[in-house]
Structure formats: C-alpha cells, structure tokens
Amino acid sequence: MPNIQTQGTEEVHPDVLLVNRAREGDVQAYEKLVKQYDRQVFRIAQHITQNREDAEDVVQDAFLKAYEKLDQFQGNSKFYTWLVRIAVNESLMRLRKRRTGRMVSIDEDVETEEGSMPRDLADWGPDPEQQYGQSELADILRKTIQGLPPGFRTVFVLRDVEGLSTEETAETLGLSVPAVKSRLLRARLQLRERLSRYFRKNKRDGAK
C-alpha cells in the first residue's frame, strides 16, 4: 500500500489520514476503512469462529468497537493491525460462547506434541490441488485448517493467509515473537501432515 510522502522525511500511511478525519466525525472517511478491510476481517473471524453468523457479528462489532475507540488508536501500529486485534478478541469471545462458556484462548491446546516432527514422508505431485475440483479442494482446505487448535489456526491465518509479519502477529495476539514462530512452524507442519492424506502422489491412481 502506498505511503504519502509529507514535506519532511516522515511518511504518513493513508489509513492514518482517514482515521484522523473519522475522529473528527467524518463517517465517509470511516466508510473507506470499512470497505478496505471488511473482507479480511470476515475471513479472519470465519477462520477463528468457524461459524458464519458469528463471523458476520464479528465484522459489525469489530468495526463499531474500533470506531468508538478511535481516540485510543496511537498511530504507532498500523490501523489494520489494531483492527485485527479487536476482531481476533471478538472472535475468540464468540467461540467461547459457542462452546457453552468453556474458556477459549490463544494458548489453548498449544502444548500438543503433534507437528513437532513430521511423520508422513510421502511426497506430493507437482500440482497436488489439480487432483480435485475447486469446490472439493476448498472443502478439504477448510476441513484441514479447522482441525488445528485455535492458537495455531489463528497464528497461521494472520501470518500466512493475511500476510501480517511475525512482529505484527505477535503484537496483534499479545504473544512474544518466539511464541509466534514456534506456533507458526507447528501449524504449518500439522497442516502439511494432514494435507498429505489428500495430496500424496498416486493418491487417486492407487498405490504404486
């Protein structure tokens, strides 16, 4: 995303200008921010909550909360990162409610040993996803990522799907950089292991 060069050497992110206008009551400026980031917030919320209605609620509540708290936005992080932090918290809260009050946190189930070391040694073909139709492939990918513990799933989604840096992911989730790196590695390895069931060579041809 382009930065606007000011007269000095300081660069101001376009979002900061929109935030400043929104703070002064310009709802149209805030509308631009909503339109810019609503798809991403929906995607993150859906990944964490695994529930369409909850994801819709998260989109509304996260943007509304962010609007109400605009005065607290310091500008030392990106608006998007700040917004994602609100959306992740809202998502985890809804996931907790769905699980009838059982605590759900970013630390849940991260002590599992799964994914520490790869077990499945099967190689994949050059374009393993070509073995499936688009809809079938999407089902496989959704089912596979849904099987990860929330703490791993969230880190993988922010880091690898949404493209946040390791540092931004750590800041967003209130984790240390080493904790993000450890969870990301294990999330990637677990996903790889689980996808191997579908993508291993000769899966559809029968074992050779």
Binding site: Y30, F42, M117, P128, L185
Partner: protein, 77 residues
C-alpha cells in the same frame, strides 16, 4: 545437522531469513536427507495453497448489508 535441527530452521529458510553460512549447512543436510527435502517442499506448497485459495468469501450482498449496518451504528455514536 540433524533433522530436528533442520526443522527448527525451516520457517526461516522458507522465508529466506537465514545467513549464508546457515543456508550452506541447511543445503548440505538436504543433499543427504530426502525426508527433509519432502518436508520442505510440501510445507512450502501447503502455504502456497492456503495463500492462493479464498476459503471464506464475503458475498457482495452480505457485504453491502454489513457495511450499511456498521455505518448506521457509527452515525448514532
């Protein structure tokens, strides 16, 4: 280098954040370990597949409805 040591560096290798010396050590390990070659290639592919497939699209009609609801609430703030 053991496989465990290689795996510990896998993310940094995939993201090209390793020093020249470490890269040389990792490549040396790869030359003798098919298991780690497969793990590296399929992990890279896993990331690529998730990056390139939109699993939860926000349909336009729903998107417009959510935007309207959000902005209506903001105006009341």
């Amino acid at each position: 280098m053991t496989c465990t040591e290689f795996i510990a560096q896998l993310d940094d290798l995939l993201e090209d954040r390793v020093t020249t010396t470490l890269r040389a050590d990792l490549e040396e390990h790869l030359r003798g370990c098919e298991h780690c070659v497969i793990t590296m290639n399929t992990t890279r592919k896993t990331i690529e597949i998730y990056r390139s497939h939109e699993l939860y699209e926000l349909p336009n009609e729903l998107r417009v409805r959510l935007q309207k609801a959000i902005l209506a609430k903001c105006k009341k703030c």
